[in-house]
Subunit: 230 residues, 6 copies
Amino acid sequence: MTRIAVLNPNATESMTDGIAAAAALVARPGTEVIGITAAAGPVVVETNAEEAVAAAAVLAEVDRAEKGNAPDAWVIACFGDTGLAAARERASGPVVGMTEAALLTAALVAARFTIVTMPRRTRAMSERVIRELGLEHRCVVRAVDEPVASIAGGSGHLAPVFIAEGRAALLEDDAEAIVLGCAGLADLAAPLEAELGVPVIEGVAAGVSLAEALLAQGVRTSRAGTWARA
Amino acid sequence: MTRIAVLNPNATESMTDGIAAAAALVARPGTEVIGITAAAGPVVVETNAEEAVAAAAVLAEVDRAEKGNAPDAWVIACFGDTGLAAARERASGPVVGMTEAALLTAALVAARFTIVTMPRRTRAMSERVIRELGLEHRCVVRAVDEPVASIAGGSGHLAPVFIAEGRAALLEDDAEAIVLGCAGLADLAAPLEAELGVPVIEGVAAGVSLAEALLAQGVRTSRAGTWARA
Amino acid sequence: MTRIAVLNPNATESMTDGIAAAAALVARPGTEVIGITAAAGPVVVETNAEEAVAAAAVLAEVDRAEKGNAPDAWVIACFGDTGLAAARERASGPVVGMTEAALLTAALVAARFTIVTMPRRTRAMSERVIRELGLEHRCVVRAVDEPVASIAGGSGHLAPVFIAEGRAALLEDDAEAIVLGCAGLADLAAPLEAELGVPVIEGVAAGVSLAEALLAQGVRTSRAGTWARA
Amino acid sequence: MTRIAVLNPNATESMTDGIAAAAALVARPGTEVIGITAAAGPVVVETNAEEAVAAAAVLAEVDRAEKGNAPDAWVIACFGDTGLAAARERASGPVVGMTEAALLTAALVAARFTIVTMPRRTRAMSERVIRELGLEHRCVVRAVDEPVASIAGGSGHLAPVFIAEGRAALLEDDAEAIVLGCAGLADLAAPLEAELGVPVIEGVAAGVSLAEALLAQGVRTSRAGTWARA
Amino acid sequence: MTRIAVLNPNATESMTDGIAAAAALVARPGTEVIGITAAAGPVVVETNAEEAVAAAAVLAEVDRAEKGNAPDAWVIACFGDTGLAAARERASGPVVGMTEAALLTAALVAARFTIVTMPRRTRAMSERVIRELGLEHRCVVRAVDEPVASIAGGSGHLAPVFIAEGRAALLEDDAEAIVLGCAGLADLAAPLEAELGVPVIEGVAAGVSLAEALLAQGVRTSRAGTWARA
Amino acid sequence: MTRIAVLNPNATESMTDGIAAAAALVARPGTEVIGITAAAGPVVVETNAEEAVAAAAVLAEVDRAEKGNAPDAWVIACFGDTGLAAARERASGPVVGMTEAALLTAALVAARFTIVTMPRRTRAMSERVIRELGLEHRCVVRAVDEPVASIAGGSGHLAPVFIAEGRAALLEDDAEAIVLGCAGLADLAAPLEAELGVPVIEGVAAGVSLAEALLAQGVRTSRAGTWARA
């Protein structure tokens, strides 16, 4: 049995439960998806200060798990891939950020695509990941200005605003796919895809699938250079 | 049962057999890997002219398969991702190039990495894919000057030259992972990894895993814009 | 007598005739322009699949001509420069793509400029050439959504839609010149220039002039590396 | 009296003292430089995990200070600008990272320049800041492989290795200036400058001077968008 | 006493007086700001031809001053940093362009920002500096189409058009700060900041502050390579 | 009769004579090449100060010629394209810089290429043009450290050092063509091409040919935006 931890930097258990349940739907039969909440993190990650605190909380969870029954791989379930570098360095198995996973997945099915993130002020977090990957020429960021707290119990109610922004992305950005720019938005994938007629990528699902892909290939985090063990 | 076609643009059956066998090793239990040789292609793809002919041959194989029992997804098994855009447009399922798959996989485990391709003159094909993905800041290309024909029956004999070039990549490029820059090099992954101590990515394996990842997520090629059906 | 072949990847003779006639108008006295249709190509090149087939057809024409009375230079007369790398590798004389020729010409007379291509779905072909040349900071792409077939007999009837799109380019892109983004649009150069008051670049004419420029300098395709002979 | 806090993310008091003393030498008469150690941080910041912990510790110090007698401006004294975004968001006055300060200073006196950082594994932290500023075309990174702990009591003993690496930068990178890539290296500025004959930039000094420059202009952190208050 | 020359490439004394007076307001107590007009320059710098003449005139002023009582540092007070490279090469002290100074200052307080320059045709001068610094991903250029001559006696009357353009920058560019894109616009900083609620950067002030920062650090123009003495 | 002025920003008549004579060899039968020396310029252009003076001198020559019997087109015969923007703005006919002409020509025959310029300190002038064109991914700069004055009477004696540097470019840069990085180097084209076996591009020849290409197409400098008439 393969165990993949979906680690939510937002310290909101209900959100973690929803994320893990959605992630489990794409996992292959032999994979167990474990939801972990970064207990020492902020309730939601929206500001740069919250991101800093959450990154340390992500690291703490990885460290705790690695002392016991460490999962085979990790998915960071927060847009911006909070704490990814630290987690990658410390975890024994591979670690995939939901943002990078979503972008790499989108790049395989769309020549250009748009992230629709939330709230508006977090756009720089998306842009940071785009730039790390070098996808500036294929990806832009839009936002709907809803707080992360609004999706603690599900995101279906945001379908209208996401559909509206997605439509603008098709028209104005020539987007050929949409990336959902926040954890906890799995409810939106189907209605957006139905309305917009283009692939809609959900990052946690993408993260689980890419983590499985790394495990299948037996590819692990390089310990030369950037993510070397201490 | 999921069926993934590994399509070899080099019209060399023995090479296809080896590629498909290696790919099958990373496929998940429910996946059948089917080797297809682009029959109308050149024996090997090394020159730009051969690449042009091979791209049309790739398209012909996709068109033929799509008229019958089309596979669920495709992997293009030639460095440079010969004919990818055309195949993606025509195939009903997702299509993944081995080059893009290898690069995206490497980006998840290494901050910077080096492709070791062959022969020397094909480096521009690697660079084209790097640039399409925007990974110029993280990936460079090296080559060993061996003809593709030399690996028709396996690539193990090239381990010494690949190890030497890989070592140069670690020292001079600060590579944290190595990407094997040709189909048919699966035999080299284990010995290089053992010698170099960094992840060694084989693109066909990466392609199969990413194709599975797309299928698991239910993500298909966008039909808006670039890869729209005719 | 210098002979420059204008090779039309769209297998439409009437289009070739029009292209060659227009090209002849800019050729210098001692130059004979020869129209060649890529007989094995698709009737028009609009999709990625058509582009793949056309590239192989382009190569076939070059190979055929090189066996006999090869022209001194070639111009590829299709936006996206279909089959350029293969043709450049095989032809004894220099080969110029109409897209690259148009962009390089525009760069000499305008700080920023806009391609107006057709139909809409082909924009990625323009963007590929822009990116190969590195002109992303100076050039953007617009499209009018007309099929290539609509200009088989001339393009003058499209003046209104091209003028409208060109006007938008001046206002919204700050374009200082317009590049006509398809072969067979020579009829539009004069009316657009008259209406818009900025240089309008026609790529086949640009290609012929740049081919002449290479011949005058005695500069031939490098046989080191990327375009080496097999 | 203007008060500028030099905040050391490395929780090593002796290092903070040295940094603050050196910084005070460049401060203008009316400026008081206050050394603050990020008490909850790691002893040194070398790994990604240490950086994550240190960023949260930086934020904690800013939050603590802002509740009392907040300084007029802050300088983050760790290469990589640990916790800069969070600090910038929370501090009432401007916040300058020593890395960005050093790079911007270097850009005013040298067309191209080289960072010499330490230890080797931290190079990615420098590269992240280079890329955020867009200085990839003017700046590269080298490293001497010494631990940060080795400079807890001063850095003068490292002059020979830094001079050797600096000399390599002049010869191989065509560097026109050298940026010292770690806090606590102020002792090296004079000997390197004497030996190499090019400007040697020390980031904490640069940070203090740029913080003073912002204060003199009355320019504060924008509260629109990225660094808005919560 | 430190002496900083503010050198106006526009040969309009009244403009120089206003610029120097405004610059003096941000200078530290021990700094004397000296206004110098490039006497051989054009009355205003708007065209490329005027910029070429002004660059030579800037150099002449530097050469003249260096023969006598040379200032400790220079600020070039014209957007586009007219003649900067030549001045930097010849002046004994550091030379800062107002454009680069404004952009570097803005980068410390805003993740993205917009230059509002004038007149419209000069935008390429701003873009040249943006590109030299590599800030294309963080900065765009807008213009109000007013002649430079209109601000010979002060710029307060342009507040309404600058506020309107600044508002568009906030809405359409997501600008987090505004850079005033011409010398002689100091009157606009306060009203724009009051209306727009984001930092407004005035380049001559920024230039003086950065020149002071260089002097405080004892950092001088590198004489290796690009700006070596003849 | 078409008249193309080759304008030498180096105020050295013997150099102008040599340049014009070499340029005439590539001109088409109906073209007269006129050598013009920028009389008010420095004897050679090597420093940034000399470049500033030369740019104004270039402009003066254009202005003078435009008052009388203006040539149909201009070629700026100094690497770095001294004064190009101003000349382009003022001249009635098209203006081509020898540097941009060489680079655009090279891009048509080589996937990557190297400029060999002189003396060493002028490399930034080449890099500026590379960056304006966006060719950073295809072109690098090397230098031999000879003064421009050394070629006042011809450049043949520099063949050995240029051949050595060119050989290094082939080996270390994977250059597929060489661009001669100074006016007055026409004597070197043949011996370098013979020794190195790759195309060797001479910029003044390229400039004349591209000027002819623009004239043949009837394409003139855009008067919208950047190079508008005053």
